[in-house]
């Protein structure tokens, strides 16, 4: 079946009217449909994002003044520990898995993931571990040794909170290992015939690289945490120096996962951005293979850079040089991606809708995080700024300016597919504007704070830094406000939004060749590829008649996706309807 025929069968009313199980209750069951699980992931993680965001604003409120006057120092430490843990383990990492769950089977023409039940198990580990973590805050003994939980500090702070933290992170790590196995097997075994690796959408490539990385690195964190739990609860001294243990070994084990984790957090959204930019620029992605293989390069190099987090702890001098070089080299594949995206936009017909704006915001802010990352790799400079607000600024430019903007771009792009309705563009743009202003206002001044001498994880600081902290705090409040238009937009549009049709962006990847939202088991019959994922502007894709054509031909042509829009109530290209 060609994409064209597929599109037509997708339009058969019996399928499109009520595409299978789509009662709201389904989202609260142990459902094994990858689309339900994907949305469960996304909604759950977004709730945790809001909780993590509230914690961040409490942290920033404390930092408005140089004195400790809002919360006690113990509570302050718990706030930033939980903020980081939630944002990393309960928002960005699983949000990537959420998109992958929803998109991978659709993109490769599969009916579901390779292991649907395992998929459900992976998801259902997340809510309990999240609740566990938040419960620690309620019972009054929250973890407060930072999300890195370095011993010996983590062994001398509250035992209950630390134990809960270890348990929770272990569960979340297990969840992501299970997810990674599932993505790998699905990508390797379930592509439709005719889709080689080089015909896969770039998001699939990115998830392939991410899953491989997860599978190699996460078990090491689990091992480290189990040993830490022994130290904490059973009195062993693997990491406890008073019994001859070595705290630096913990740092190695922790960062062997946690640096790759940064790539686990950013690679899926590199993939998402590679989908969003060509569609909304109406151009083939520039350098498909370069983008695809650079994901693999990042995944591999990501495994050999961890010790740059330890330049100031206990590693030999020459080893610092080794890790400096590997860390710097990662900038090369990352640079390839950025330049390829720019070249994709260059000369295109860019639709500046919310998805595209967030994608461009991603490129523009991520590059700042990338540049400061190269600076941090340079050992002499890293020695100066390690453990300061410069690092805080860098990681937020990567993880907020990168991952979170990537998540938003992906949501605006795939929301029509997930729900069958469009998000409101006006509120989308308000959301974008507030986010960009808030993000830069919060994190840009932190570069200077760090270099001038403000260390991180402190509740009190030198009064000379008050002004810049004030700006950061106001920025953080703007960021908090920026989520409201999005939340209301998402809820309202899901219920009452403009109907999207099956392919509102006229995209060419397979997920757009079925109903929105897709029926159970996705495709009526196994799809057959007629075009590559990004053949915009090519002859075979040009055969399609423009939307304004008064007499759309519904049969021939591989890209009849473009023609199958007879219903004016359905927004084919919302901008054109206005």
């Amino acid at each position: 079946m060609t994409q064209a025929q597929l599109q037509e069968t997708a339009n058969i009313p019996a399928l499109s009217e009520e595409p299978g199980i789509r009662k709201w209750q389904d989202y609260f069951t142990f459902n094994t449909d990858h689309k339900v699980i994907g949305i469960q992931y996304l909604v759950t993680t977004f709730i945790f994002y809001c909780i993590g965001g509230v914690l961040a604003d409490l942290v920033r409120t404390e930092l408005r003044t140089p004195e400790v006057d809002f919360v006690t120092p113990e509570v302050y430490n718990s706030l930033f520990t939980l903020h980081a843990t939630i944002m990393i383990f309960l928002w960005i990492v699983p949000a990537g898995a959420g998109f992958a769950n929803f998109l991978i089977p659709l993109m490769i023409g599969a009916k579901d993931m390779a292991f649907p039940r395992l998929n459900a198990v992976a998801f259902w580990m997340i809510p309990p571990s999240g609740l566990l973590l938040i419960a620690s805050l309620v019972v009054g003994d929250a973890p407060d040794a930072g999300w890195t939980s370095y011993p010996p500090l983590s062994l001398v702070t509250g035992q209950v909170g630390e134990g809960i933290w270890i348990m929770s992170v272990l569960l979340l790590g297990t969840s992501s290992i299970l997810g990674a196995i599932n993505f790998l097997v699905t990508l390797l075994r379930m592509r439709i015939p005719g889709m080689g690796f080089n015909q896969m959408p770039l998001f699939c490539w990115a998830m392939f690289a991410t899953s491989a990385l997860t599978l190699v690195s996460t078990p090491v964190l689990a091992a480290g945490l189990i040993l830490l739990a022994f130290d904490l609860l059973a009195g062993t001294t693997f990491f406890n120096p008073t019994g001859g243990g070595d705290p630096v070994v913990y740092q190695h084990m922790f960062w062997f996962y946690s640096h790759p984790a940064v790539y686990i957090m950013i690679l899926p959204f590199f993939g998402a951005i590679s989908e969003v930019i060509p569609v909304h620029s109406r151009k083939p992605v520039f350098g498909y293979k370069a983008i695809a293989y650079s994901s693999l390069a990042i995944s591999f190099l990501g495994l050999i850079v961890w010790a740059h987090h330890m330049f100031t702890s206990g590693i030999p001098g020459w080893l610092r040089m080794f890790f400096m070089i590997t860390t710097m080299i990662i900038a090369v594949p990352t640079g390839i991606k950025i330049f390829s995206w720019l070249a994709t936009m260059w000369g295109g017909k860019i639709r500046l809708n919310s998805a595209m704006l967030f994608a461009m915001g991603f490129v523009g802010t991520f590059v700042i995080g990338g540049i400061s990352g190269v600076m941090l790799a340079a050992v002499p400079f890293d020695i100066h700024v390690h453990d300061t607000y410069f690092v805080v600024a860098h990681l937020h430019y990567v993880l907020f300016g990168g991952s979170v903007l990537g998540i938003y771009a992906a949501i605006y792009h795939w929301f029509p597919k997930m729900t069958g309705r469009m998000l409101n563009e006006f509120w989308g743009k308000v959301h974008f504007g507030l986010t960009i202003v808030g993000l830069n206002m919060t994190f840009l001044p932190m570069h200077k704070l760090g270099m001038m001498g403000m260390n991180r994880r402190v509740a009190q600081y030198d009064p000379k830094f008050t002004f810049l902290n004030e700006i950061c705090t106001i920025g953080a409040y703007i960021l908090a406000v920026s989520t409201f238009p999005f939340i209301f937009n998402a809820i309202w549009s899901w219920l009452y939004g403009e109907k999207a049709g099956n392919n509102p962006w006229r995209a060419l990847t397979l997920e757009w060749m079925t109903t929105s939202p897709p029926a159970i088991e996705n495709f009526d019959k196994t799809p057959v590829l007629a075009t590559g994922p990004y053949d915009y502007g090519l002859e075979k894709a040009k055969e399609g008649v423009p939307l304004s054509d008064p007499d759309p031909v519904l049969s021939a042509g591989p890209n009849s996706v473009l023609r199958a829009e007879p219903d004016p109530a359905v927004a084919a290209n919302p901008e054109d309807r206005k």
């Binding site: 500090l153 062993t236 243990g245 083939p284 206990g314 017909k349 461009m360 400079f381 054109d576």
Partner: protein, 375 residues
């Protein structure tokens, strides 16, 4: 008149370069450079800043230009040109970042060498003494702690003829009674070095011209929740704020009594973790007089933010005067009696008596340990 695009590219390139060069020198993002090392680090940072500014302006420029120039006009539903790639261009933009990072790596390597990051011979310098051998027996320190039988089997490296560098440095520092009074080295076993990529004492050593020479001033720094303690073995002073003279190379030996701390003076651009069970060293040369803040940079507990103290960089004369004042002040304290005793004349158990008594260890136990060790 239409200006050709190559001229435009050239002009934009020149402007971009000039702006980057200017901003790289005038960013005002760093505090005073108060040590010789800081000047070198600043040079590296300024260079990176020039390159970064260029890349930043280039990327943001292309983004904004594309958003304006190539945005979809209303009514235009055509696709853009199907450009799928351009191999020479892709090679170019792979090669340029690669060359840039190699350049920055080489520069960083050079600065790192200049500030004394490489000190490959440090491991062989410390002499092996009978006393340090006996003190490196971990049994004495382990004996008191619960659950240590398991710990000992898990953590002991096999007997080795290699010296235990951490133990030697710790012993050396503990020769100073003032340091011994503030450190708990007897309670925390020192990590044994492993060959190759093993445990090391983290170091920023002497700058290349000072290799092989001892530092002109030695300060033992001890980090504990939430204070820094400074002891000066040359003069026996103990203080809570650090004074250092301009132009004399200072060596800091540090460790921590409880959790990991990190010694950071932003104006020196130097940072080093102080890790319990390890002895870290940094050497630097102060150059600009002033009062600076020493900050603990590694999360060490709720009052981590309050773990700050003053570092006073002053002229050698002012420094010597300060030392004299401190000596006069400390003479009124009982510590002066300890200073009068030369610890090298004592047997190990005599020397350890004040500490072993607190731990409930009898001299006989120590002797047994020693005997067992020799067999």
């Amino acid at each position: 008149m239409k200006i050709p695009s190559s001229i435009w590219t050239l002009l934009i390139g020149i402007v971009l370069t000039l702006v980057s060069l200017w901003y790289g020198q005038n960013h005002g993002l760093l505090p005073t450079a108060a040590s010789d090392e800081a000047v070198l680090v600043d040079g590296l940072f300024n260079t990176m800043m020039v390159v970064s500014t260029g890349i930043f302006l280039l990327v943001e420029g292309i983004l904004i230009y594309s958003a304006i120039r190539y945005r979809k006009r209303s009514g235009d539903n055509e696709d853009g040109p199907p450009v799928e790639g351009n191999v020479p261009l892709e090679i170019l933009w792979t090669a340029i970042p690669a060359i840039i990072v190699i350049g920055i790596s080489v520069y960083s390597f050079d600065v790192y060498n200049e500030i004394g990051g490489f000190d490959p011979h440090a491991i062989h310098e410390a002499p092996i003494t009978g006393q340090s051998m006996s003190m490196s027996m971990p049994g004495a320190a382990f004996a008191k702690r619960a659950g240590t039988a398991l710990a000992a089997t898990l953590n002991d490296t096999p007997p080795s003829t290699e010296p235990n560098l951490n133990q030697e440095k710790s012993d050396e520092a503990m020769q100073d009674p003032a340091t011994a009074a503030v450190r708990n080295a007897d309670q925390i076993p020192q990590k044994r070095n492993a060959p190759g990529v093993g445990v090391v004492s983290p170091t920023i050593g002497p700058s290349p011209e000072n290799v092989g020479k001892p530092a002109q001033l030695l300060v033992n720094v001890t980090g504990l929740q939430y204070a820094w303690l400074f002891t000066y073995p040359d003069s026996g002073i103990t203080t809570g704020e650090m004074h250092v003279p301009i132009g004399r190379e200072v060596q800091i030996n540090m460790t921590a009594n409880d959790v990991i701390h990190a010694f950071w003076v932003p104006e020196f651009r130097l940072k080093q973790d102080a890790i319990p069970g390890r002895q870290s060293e940094i050497r630097f040369t102060p150059r600009t007089a002033g009062d600076y803040t020493l900050i603990c940079a590694e999360l060490c507990g709720p009052y981590h933010g309050a773990m700050r103290t003053q570092v006073v960089v002053e002229t050698p004369e002012a420094f010597d005067k300060w030392v004299q004042e401190q000596l006069v002040a400390s003479r009124e304290e009982p510590l002066s009696q300890a200073v009068a005793v030369n610890p090298t004349n004592l047997s190990p158990d005599e020397f350890l008596a004040p500490y072993t008594k607190d731990m409930g260890i009898q001299p006989e136990t120590l002797n047994q340990v020693q005997t067992a060790h020799h067999h």
